[in-house]
Symmetry: D4
Subunit: 216 residues, 8 copies
Amino acid sequence: YRTGYMEAILAEGKEPEDIVEIVKAHNEAVGRTLITRINEEHASAIRNAFKPENIEWDMHSRTAVVHDSTPVPRTGGTVAIITAGTADIDVAEEARMTASEMGCSTIQIYDVGVAGFQRLISEMSVFEENRPDAIVVAAGREGTLPTVVSSLIDVPVIGLPVSIGYGAGAKGEAALLSMLQSCSILSVVNIDAGFVAGAFAARIANSVAEARKKEF
Amino acid sequence: YRTGYMEAILAEGKEPEDIVEIVKAHNEAVGRTLITRINEEHASAIRNAFKPENIEWDMHSRTAVVHDSTPVPRTGGTVAIITAGTADIDVAEEARMTASEMGCSTIQIYDVGVAGFQRLISEMSVFEENRPDAIVVAAGREGTLPTVVSSLIDVPVIGLPVSIGYGAGAKGEAALLSMLQSCSILSVVNIDAGFVAGAFAARIANSVAEARKKEF
Amino acid sequence: YRTGYMEAILAEGKEPEDIVEIVKAHNEAVGRTLITRINEEHASAIRNAFKPENIEWDMHSRTAVVHDSTPVPRTGGTVAIITAGTADIDVAEEARMTASEMGCSTIQIYDVGVAGFQRLISEMSVFEENRPDAIVVAAGREGTLPTVVSSLIDVPVIGLPVSIGYGAGAKGEAALLSMLQSCSILSVVNIDAGFVAGAFAARIANSVAEARKKEF
Amino acid sequence: YRTGYMEAILAEGKEPEDIVEIVKAHNEAVGRTLITRINEEHASAIRNAFKPENIEWDMHSRTAVVHDSTPVPRTGGTVAIITAGTADIDVAEEARMTASEMGCSTIQIYDVGVAGFQRLISEMSVFEENRPDAIVVAAGREGTLPTVVSSLIDVPVIGLPVSIGYGAGAKGEAALLSMLQSCSILSVVNIDAGFVAGAFAARIANSVAEARKKEF
Amino acid sequence: YRTGYMEAILAEGKEPEDIVEIVKAHNEAVGRTLITRINEEHASAIRNAFKPENIEWDMHSRTAVVHDSTPVPRTGGTVAIITAGTADIDVAEEARMTASEMGCSTIQIYDVGVAGFQRLISEMSVFEENRPDAIVVAAGREGTLPTVVSSLIDVPVIGLPVSIGYGAGAKGEAALLSMLQSCSILSVVNIDAGFVAGAFAARIANSVAEARKKEF
Amino acid sequence: YRTGYMEAILAEGKEPEDIVEIVKAHNEAVGRTLITRINEEHASAIRNAFKPENIEWDMHSRTAVVHDSTPVPRTGGTVAIITAGTADIDVAEEARMTASEMGCSTIQIYDVGVAGFQRLISEMSVFEENRPDAIVVAAGREGTLPTVVSSLIDVPVIGLPVSIGYGAGAKGEAALLSMLQSCSILSVVNIDAGFVAGAFAARIANSVAEARKKEF
Amino acid sequence: YRTGYMEAILAEGKEPEDIVEIVKAHNEAVGRTLITRINEEHASAIRNAFKPENIEWDMHSRTAVVHDSTPVPRTGGTVAIITAGTADIDVAEEARMTASEMGCSTIQIYDVGVAGFQRLISEMSVFEENRPDAIVVAAGREGTLPTVVSSLIDVPVIGLPVSIGYGAGAKGEAALLSMLQSCSILSVVNIDAGFVAGAFAARIANSVAEARKKEF
Amino acid sequence: YRTGYMEAILAEGKEPEDIVEIVKAHNEAVGRTLITRINEEHASAIRNAFKPENIEWDMHSRTAVVHDSTPVPRTGGTVAIITAGTADIDVAEEARMTASEMGCSTIQIYDVGVAGFQRLISEMSVFEENRPDAIVVAAGREGTLPTVVSSLIDVPVIGLPVSIGYGAGAKGEAALLSMLQSCSILSVVNIDAGFVAGAFAARIANSVAEARKKEF
Ligand SMILES: Nc1ncnc2c1ncn2[C@@H]1O[C@H](COP(=O)(O)O)[C@@H](O)[C@H]1O
Ligand SMILES: Nc1ncnc2c1ncn2[C@@H]1O[C@H](COP(=O)(O)O)[C@@H](O)[C@H]1O
Ligand SMILES: Nc1ncnc2c1ncn2[C@@H]1O[C@H](COP(=O)(O)O)[C@@H](O)[C@H]1O
Ligand SMILES: Nc1ncnc2c1ncn2[C@@H]1O[C@H](COP(=O)(O)O)[C@@H](O)[C@H]1O
Ligand SMILES: [Mg+2]
Ligand SMILES: [Mg+2]
Ligand SMILES: [Mg+2]
Ligand SMILES: [Mg+2]
Ligand SMILES: [Mg+2]
Ligand SMILES: [Mg+2]
Ligand SMILES: [Mg+2]
Ligand SMILES: [Mg+2]
């Protein structure tokens, strides 16, 4: 592993046999490979090529890890993942698995959108003593939640727009634009880009963790 | 006056002399005319054509009323106007003047966006005993505020997107889309359409006020 | 039930098992739950989880209500639903069921678009003595009908664009834009947002109905 | 003149001196030249290059004709021009002048939009005995009027969207899309394309007029 | 039949059973009904509801006519239909069937796009003696052909963009925009709107034909 | 000062007198206020309201700080700012001033785009021993540079699209989209959002700096 | 064969039987026909109509050549095809087959995007002695590679955007825009237009090859 | 000079003083610098910094060359520049000057769009004996001309869309899309990118010229 960055493959648009080949090469080099946005054909090619005990599946988030049993070295960084609704969970899980593969511990606070505002406050109160190093906030439709979270806590917040909703601004477009226009301090990744959000948050968290370890 | 609807002219795109002529015709019929989205040339044509005591100006919101001294008959309806920031006030004032010309009393709560969330709650507490009949919420950039207000109070809330902000989703586009995608119960008018928001809110408020007056 | 607002779930983007769980929780609290934008898988999960006598289906509008036999308390509010064509009826029915679940009586006037203009006038004549408290007008393609209805009657009119049509401006885009640009007094909800239109209309109608009941 | 088609120059994007030169060449060949979308610099170049008695100006519609005193041969075709509002008149006049230069007589019915619907009906009643050969209908904002006119009379109707309005769908975009999505039988030209609308209508009117003259 | 206009139903977005019902009502009134944009389910509902001898199918253009054996009265008008490529023919046929149902004779010149330019010239030479009253030109991709045709002949030309092509401007968008920007005299209908193009052309042709018949 | 976050005002869309008032209130509370996107009128209102020694101007980046002489407490965090071209420098400077106001030291590497690739490598070699805690990369036109930087160094990189370029994708649109689609690990802020980029980078840098200071 | 240009058919949007007919006509005239963007139905129509030994398939790139055994005359031109990732290879192969059918030799350098930058340099070092006459660079997502290649070598580079990626700017839109905005000297073809890229590159290569052959 | 590529500066978005500085540095290195998209302030900064005899202006195309009297070495390549209208000439001249600075001779054929089709054919007849090595075709509005030219001659044709026209598809958008969708073999540059078109054409022409010179 390069520090803070694992090998990852975007399966979408690739032939199943190409993926198997790339995974084999990667694993030889680094021991574990994360594969994202898998479809059914990709999944069965992977199933045929590797032993079950070397694969970790998460078909909801269309993500898998193929490894040769080496564990991920833990970095000490912490990433929190928050979602506005239950429909945002699949994308959030892609972010969470990515951060986890990059050595971070992860905290989930799911389904605390506008309607669950009270619950958001109470769930986040746990952060008062125990701040995460970075927070990913996944939200679809009007994409309000990252703005609210960033105004409540002084930790780097990454907005992750989710492709739900219908009509004008659907498929995450309103969420993306409203995160880009936010009055809070946010940075943003592309719609459904759980991988990028998780990897970016892990880069931050791993930097902070490394700084924590520095001796004097 | 037709009940609940005053005469109004959209100045934009019209010749100054056409506006003067239309105002004269309207005033003859109904005694007062609201003119919106006035530019400098429109304003001086109006100044030349009518006596100062017959004009009420609001050049910030680019709005004027020309009247023959007949007052607006009060309907008993109440419309609240809330803005997220100070930059939203001009458009909000167009809505307020329109509702006022349609006979409603108006309540203003300005500059209570995400950063001023605490103040929003405390300002809105006045509504607990004294509910407005309709609420217009003006917001630019990410346009979050109408969603929040509608989740806090069970009154019809009209989202009014404002053309501020820069970059992707600027000029009210993100605000409009995010109000259309809102998870709360909202209806929406076009970007900067203070007149439509105010008139629609007044239609609601005047209906409620009329119902209140019904004898048994 | 909180006054004027029932519990509702947007099924789209959610897992069938999540929906069943959410419905159960809601029903425990409030006795009835409206579920919108259901697909086949959602439907069969609901069918398996609840007794037939506790479900009201409307698969055309992809809507269901799951209840524990408590009836909806009637508020006395009235909402009219008008459509331009027959293709707009599914979305209109989502609005109607929502308003009905919120305690309103509903009036339907369907398929009275530009070609049926004469019929629109004659159907609406019934309103002269018996005004609805709010009107939802569903229209696709060029979306003209809400503009016409709002110019004929002084009741709050909510434009509901429908995702039909082909070519440029298809899928409700022309309808939405032309409602936002309307010369009449209209507020608008998102394309196909029958739920929002119905709930917003019911908020208005229930306010008016409450005012009617006020004693002196 | 080629039958049914006069020489015309689009001034926009051209240097003033180029325009003068092109006009001179055209006039030598055909005696009259129509120039559209003129700005101030174009106008003064024309003023300096030709005698006042050889220029017909219409600076509202930014149009001019330069001629060597030869009159336009009348074809016997008739084109009606209808506008929704007063803000549509400039573009409508460009259409009217073009049709007139192509030999047609023209009929104007201006400012009969949704609010003036009653007046539209009564004005159009003159057509019952005296049908125009083609109708251009100019409308901005939601662009409803061409749809209504085409549903009332069985004459070819050309929709001419006008670049007014503000917010989403402004600058004629909503009008164009809603004309393209119209449920009536319409053809359409580009936003503000008064010249194209007028010339196309004249092509139709001149064909019909020619057919009328055919001997047996 | 109203002169120059037959009854037509847009099947898309309608339930099969609704279509059968509407056809029956129409046929009772006017003897023939054109149905456009039919899918497989619509087709089999029609097949079950009417006798084979009363249906004319054109499944390529997804169009049918249901009639009670009354023939279409011929008007004497002539409409030509030209296509750029073979992929444009389905949409062109919808236009042709519509014009034919409206009583016009039709002329087809198919597959004469840029590459077949020579053939276009030679095919169109037949028009020198025998001009059609209106021309529909269907083209996808860059949509050049209507511009070229209109510059070659002084007959009203209606541009009909076709939803083919891939990449930016695909699905007829480039074709529509380039027809709207054309330097020739063109009017335009929406992408794939064969029905509107055919009906509009027939309105023109029937006007001209009527003028031809006028006695003196 | 709240840790890691100074007060900032977005001047755009606000009246000059409102800005002065807000600055005064902020300064009373926190001693320094950053004002961004100032125009000429804002600038002269500030000049009239405060003493020269209490204002720091940067009119290139349209930014100012008004303070009561209290210095910014240094946090120990480090933010690097890289630009692709010279035209990106104004926006980059807004980011740099913001990070500096939030207590970070800043490093500038300007004008090292594709053409200056060699220079980029050599300039960045300084980072080998002395890594910044976060990097902002400003780029317009095709927006390539953040992708390249993020692939060269394992530090959180924030893409800052700049509104330069002409034609399709101009005004930063291509740059924003290409950063969102990047194959490297990037997060992004809106076009020209120098303030957000700088503040977000400072949040990261200040977290890392705080971790460095933690005792054991 | 016309020099430098073979016959080619775009299958998309055409009926299988039409394709067979067109191929037969072409082959009679020129001996070989290239068919692009074939679907399964097109493929089996071709399989039924021609002998296996007269067809060359490439179903990955959805391309086929049908010939009467005449070989392609070699021109001496050379075209290099480079891809950023493995997902770009199908489109790249369409370009390569086209250039090959036009008589060029082709060189492939695949999967050398940002991550493989080192490999790009070393692979391209072969060009130092042996320059291709034109280079096609296929890239999806952020579309950076053509910009980098064009800055490294002074040969005409054609950017070929590929429709991969998800979220904003997906389906090749970001890649197309960023190639159009490139700071290097590039020309561009439409998204997935492998045929156009290959044919254009071959036109260049064949011109250069012809010049090489010129005697003195 | 690097072979086939002169130094060029895009002035737009740069400070006048920065431009002067960059020109000086470039000229020291290579003797001549091309500056494109100059505004009035840039021009006067250049006028003040360099002697008149060292500047070549073309303010119509907003282009200048600053040199130290060294002439451009001629390569023997030939580039033709064709425009559809007179409004396309400024952009075309930017292309021509760029190709000329890169050592090519240039041929101009201006104002030969659809209306001037006959003249196009006759002007291009000169190419029969004397082919240019590359052709740039500039066109606005519907952008047809490059498609036509490329179908008439087997030379690499580069489409150069020009930002003229009004309404939908204006500012070169229709032209760009229709060139990307062209049925002929075209490559394209961005709207108004005269510099890129000229430099790309010169790269081709210089390759061909070099091949012509190769000895045997
Ligand atoms: N789901 C994803 N979304 C965006 N980028 C991804 C995703 N998964 C992997 N990547 C990135 O894409 C790179 C691999 O691209 P590829 O070589 O096409 O597999 C990885 O190194 C990641 O940086
Ligand atoms: N394919 C079509 N495209 C556009 N409009 C159509 C089409 N077919 C029928 N129409 C029009 O739509 C009207 C009927 O719409 P509907 O009542 O929804 O069937 C007809 O009177 C026609 O004017
Ligand atoms: N240039 C800027 N771009 C985006 N956001 C800004 C900018 N300057 C200030 N802000 C944010 O906007 C908030 C202030 O908004 P306002 O109350 O409208 O002045 C600040 O707290 C910042 O979070
Ligand atoms: N008008 C122009 N349009 C596009 N690119 C240009 C233009 N003028 C110069 N360039 C390119 O932009 C590069 C210089 O960019 P810059 O360093 O910002 O001056 C030059 O090397 C050219 O490749
Ligand atoms: Mg959300
Ligand atoms: Mg806001
Ligand atoms: Mg409609
Ligand atoms: Mg209108
Ligand atoms: Mg075509
Ligand atoms: Mg850049
Ligand atoms: Mg790429
Ligand atoms: Mg052109």
